[in-house]
Symmetry: C2
Amino acid sequence: QSGPASEIVYGHRGMSLEEDLNVTNRYYIETDQAVIYKKPTPIQIVHVDYPKRSAAKITEAYFRRASTTDYNGIYRGRYIDFEAKETTHENYIPLKNFHRHQVEHMKRIKRHGGIGFIIVKFTKRSEIFLLDADYLAAAWDESLNGGRKSIPKRIFQDHGSLIPQKYLPRVDYLQNVCEVYF
Amino acid sequence: QSGPASEIVYGHRGMSLEEDLNVTNRYYIETDQAVIYKKPTPIQIVHVDYPKRSAAKITEAYFRRASTTDYNGIYRGRYIDFEAKETTHENYIPLKNFHRHQVEHMKRIKRHGGIGFIIVKFTKRSEIFLLDADYLAAAWDESLNGGRKSIPKRIFQDHGSLIPQKYLPRVDYLQNVCEVYF
Ligand SMILES: [Mg+2]
Ligand SMILES: [Mg+2]
């Protein structure tokens, strides 16, 4: 081990996966390793006030469902695209955590030569896995044909890869991307 | 000419560039040519009401400045990133249409092997150009050293490429991307 940056600290319980990924992505940008961002939450704006001497104020708006995944960007010249989810279930993640548009989006990305995956945190044991989008797509398609409505943790263990959790970066998923896709 | 899809219709005055690009990007997705989206506008949410039997309602929120460009995605296996702007000036676009973070973002994208450019519409003559992000970066850096605070249209004519405007897709910038980057 070479100092705090490579120290593995299992835990950060209480930190949401999204928060950890945002800090991680900022670290990747600052260290010039990758340029990956979370997209803003899509909002349907209904009413805006424009006060005389201050900033425009949105007074009525609603959350919209995203038609794509939450994260995308570039790493080592490749287009990267993923969705991140937490599950409190010990042995599976329900497919209802994902939306049809997201699954279709990831299929498109892969067809066009991009790297697409999901990052899933099993919060009970604080384990975070990267799993290629093909496995999500397969589980999704099977569920439409009467198959199970979830992805078992076994799939993540057998076909995904466990993401190292450290002090900095917190969720070092680019290590996994490197191993799996390069 | 082979029918309406390839008919060049200069104009669409009244249509904003953003609207034209959204329709164009939808067309690219439907025809499976590329997967490029506009990112949602970033919003700072201050207050949300959660009514009993209806959707969560945002009652106080503010617009935030984007730290990246508005559009990104994948085309022929390459990461694509751009910002789109209109100018009413006949012979230049002021640099204040762009933000420092956007220029830095585009420099990063190019350094990591992505394709980065701006799309600028000169509304007076309804001409739309694609210009590689390097020219924006150069103009930006010169302006910081006392140079002019705008990019002359001449730069677009000499180093950019004129985007064909058609019925479908309206602003066919992938033709230009093909010519310039592939
Ligand atoms: Mg999401
Ligand atoms: Mg913008």
